[in-house]
């Protein structure tokens, strides 16, 4: 087996996921929030690929491809929303968008 062993990949994946989570929770700009979400998704991808290698089956890699497709569509929608907000001159701050308050 070439390269570092699987636990290393998982460790990196966990770190990336933590960074992404903190980003989603702490940043207020929707653009950064989206970015952090992408990081989280890719952390997941990395874990999938790592496990795929660990078990020696390719299912995880197939899933990773599917996740990329989902991530791409999600970014499309998310960016579309952000562009629409910008064109309406709304504040680009997720804390300002709280009309759904109970």
């Amino acid at each position: 087996m070439l390269g570092p062993s699987v636990p290393w990949y998982l460790a990196i994946s966990g770190i990336l996921f933590g960074i992404g989570t903190v980003g989603v929770m702490l940043r207020r700009s929707p653009l950064i929030v989206l970015l952090s979400l992408e990081i989280m998704l890719n952390a997941g991808n990395l874990a999938l690929v790592g496990f795929s290698r660990s078990w020696g089956v390719s299912d995880g890699q197939v899933f990773a491809l599917a996740v990329m497709a989902v991530a791409a569509s999600e970014v499309c929608v998310g960016l579309g929303l952000i562009v629409a907000m910008a064109r309406k001159r709304l504040a680009l701050d997720v804390d300002e968008l709280s009309e759904l308050r109970g």
Binding site: T21, M25, R28, V94, D95, S98, G102
Partner: protein
């Protein structure tokens, strides 16, 4: 199916079809067409009854009863009830009376109700009533009989309250319905007991098994049936609804509250005579209640001032005679009096209706008088009806009332003598109150009201005067000759006809018949003489007995009594429940439940901050917690 059954089904279903047609056609037919349709449907029923009658006539006496089942209506385990009709010599008599007299009265309504805003509704109700009454008399088992019993109560309720803008009419309708519901309930309880003990409500099973039931059961069943009969027929102690029912239109009073529905109790006793014969004390109770009612109602009728109420009390009194007959086991005499009473009482009501119509709705006899000059034909019809009611030969009532009194004499024991004496007292009272009414309305100085309306005759259109006149004329003829169906000791077709279904328990001898007839006619004539002396010539004056008068005017305080023992306690209980239970507990707990829901909602709403990052935090924390639990539990 034989012609007998076909006739029976046509008779039953024609009025229902009429009612449905009038209802479904709605305003697409004129009021007059609805009236014709209603009348036609009842006459079709009469033709059906006639067909069945002639078909029955041609059968041999052993073969005159036919049970025709359309389908099984209810079945549960071994208990089956068929949608079946029984056409036999007893039910055919009732069918002919109901559809025949009913047809005449519905025809009379064409003129009487002419121009009423809700004429269509009236005729639909009338057709429904005739259907329900035919259902009652043609029912092939006790359950269907109860269905008819309830439906006539409903029709009666609807028609008493027909003028629903009058509060008194609505109150009277409610009163009639509640009083009748008491009877319906006791009947239903009796039926439950029958199902429990015999497993069936079929006439053949129940009547065949009545003799073998233990005496408590059969007494309770008979008591339940008697309760129904007493309520429907307005006998003591459930009689107070009938006078109030006069709030309905006059043809309704004639059809439902004189000729047909109120006599259903008598029919019930005759129909279920096997049960009553097995419960002898209850049968005596029926006769006793009838006797008490006939005197009480006769006394009250002496002081009533409303023309329809006088006739209503007279109806109660005459049904009392029928109960005495049925209670004595003189079934044919009771049924015969039912038939002739249907003729002359319908006649009296229709005549009263013409008078009320003529006087623009006035019903108070103190404002009438001297009508003979302006209404000679009505005078004649009323005279015939009155003579038939008092039982003066050769009019119908004479032939039918006296056999009942003779049966009381033939019974022989002390109870028989009591019944005979009360019957004779009743005959005297009948003479007095009937002719008090007659002289008050037709003789004396014409009142202002009468003079005012004296020359309005003949401006009605032809259909109205025909529709009012023809039924009155036919009923006058029937009241005159209707009694010749049966002449005691000489000519006995009616008695032997009914005896095919219900064998009489007492058979008065011819000598007893003639003796009671002579006494009864004398007593009735004496009553007429008293009325003549007081109200025509003024030779006698009304005895001044203020206490008695007050007692009679308050109808023996029955209404006040029922108010005190049923209405007031119920009202007090309801008030107490409202103040002590409803408001604090029921309403309070509802408020409490509502408040808890509101507060819970407010709490949950606080969690909905609308801040995206809080949600993300919540998700992350929950995921973390779940992961920790997952690891820990493993």
């Amino acid at each position: 199916m034989t012609a007998l059954a076909v006739g029976g089904w046509i008779c039953l279903l024609a009025p229902l079809a009429g009612a449905l047609l009038i209802t479904l056609a709605g305003t697409s037919i004129s009021r007059r067409t609805a009236a014709y349709l209603g009348t036609l449907s009842v006459f079709v029923a009469f033709v059906g009854a006639l067909t069945a009658f002639f078909s029955m006539w041609s059968h041999s006496p052993a073969d005159r009863s036919e049970l025709s089942t359309a389908f099984t209506w209810l079945s549960g385990g071994s208990f089956h009830v068929g949608m079946s009709i029984l056409v036999d010599p007893l039910s055919i008599v009732m069918m002919l009376v109901v559809s025949g007299v009913g047809g005449l009265i519905v025809g009379y309504s064409i003129g009487y109700m002419d121009g009423d805003d809700e004429e269509r509704r009236y005729f639909a109700y009338m057709a429904i009533f005739v259907f329900a009454m035919l259902m009652l008399v043609e029912a092939g088992n006790l359950l269907l009989l109860l269905v008819g019993w309830g439906l006539v109560g409903l029709a009666s309720y609807l028609l008493i309250g027909f003028w629903h803008h009058r509060p008194e009419a609505v109150a009277a309708a409610k009163k009639a319905f509640v009083m009748n519901a008491i009877g319906d309930a006791t009947m239903a309880l009796g039926f439950f007991l029958l199902i429990f003990k015999t497993g069936s409500l079929d006439f053949s099973v129940v009547f065949g098994g009545a003799a073998s039931l233990d005496s408590t059961t059969v007494n309770l069943v008979a008591l339940g049936l008697l309760g129904g009969a007493v309520a429907k027929s307005a006998q003591l102690p459930l009689q107070t609804w009938l006078p109030d029912a006069m709030e309905g239109p006059t043809p309704v009073s004639a059809l439902i509250h004189a000729a047909t529905m109120v006599t259903a109790g008598v029919y019930l006793i005759v129909r279920t005579h096997s049960i009553f014969e097995a419960a002898h004390s209850i049968q005596d109770l029926a006769a006793g209640l009838g006797a008490a009612t006939l005197v009480v109602a006769g006394l009250i009728a002496l002081v009533q001032t409303d023309i329809k109420r006088v006739i209503a009390y007279s109806t109660m009194s005459q049904i009392g005679y029928m109960f005495v007959g049925a209670g004595l086991g003189a079934y044919a005499s009771g049924m015969f009096h039912l038939v002739t009473h249907a003729f002359f009482k319908a006649l009296l009501f229709l005549v009263a209706g013409v008078i009320i119509h003529h006087l623009a709705g006035e019903q108070d006899i103190r404002r009438m008088g001297g009508l003979k000059a302006s209404m000679p034909r009505i005078w004649l019809a009323f005279l015939v009806g009155s003579l038939a009611l008092v039982g003066i030969p050769p009019f119908a009532g004479f032939w039918s009332k006296d056999p009942i009194l003779a049966a009381a004499l033939a019974r022989g024991d002390a109870f028989g003598w009591i019944l005979l004496v009360t019957g004779l007292v009743g005959a005297f009272l009948t003479g007095v109150y009937t002719f008090r009414l007659f002289f008050r309305v037709f003789y004396g100085e014409p009142s202002e009201l009468v003079t005012e309306h004296a020359h309005e005759h003949g401006d009605n259109d032809r259909v109205v005067s025909l529709s009012l006149g023809v039924p009155v004329a036919i009923l006058t003829v029937l009241s005159t000759v209707g009694g010749l169906l049966e002449i005691a000791g000489v000519w006995d077709p009616f008695g032997s006809w009914i005896a095919q279904v219900a064998e009489p328990l007492v058979e008065p001898s011819t000598a007893q018949e003639w003796a009671t007839s002579a006494v009864a006619v004398t007593v009735g004539a004496a009553g007429m003489w008293v009325a003549w002396a007081i109200y025509r010539t003024g030779r006698l004056s009304v005895p001044a007995l203020p206490a008695v008068q007050r007692l009679l005017e308050h109808k023996f305080y029955f209404d006040e009594l029922y108010d005190a023992i049923a209405y007031r306690p119920a009202q007090l209980l309801a008030m107490w429940l409202r103040n002590e239970v409803e408001t604090p507990f029921v309403e309070g707990s509802l408020d409490e439940i509502g408040r808890v829901g509101q507060e819970a909602g407010a709490g949950v709403a606080r969690a909905q901050t609308g801040l995206l990052r809080t949600y993300a935090l919540a998700i992350a924390v929950s995921a973390l917690v779940l992961a920790v639990i997952f690891v820990a539990v493993r």
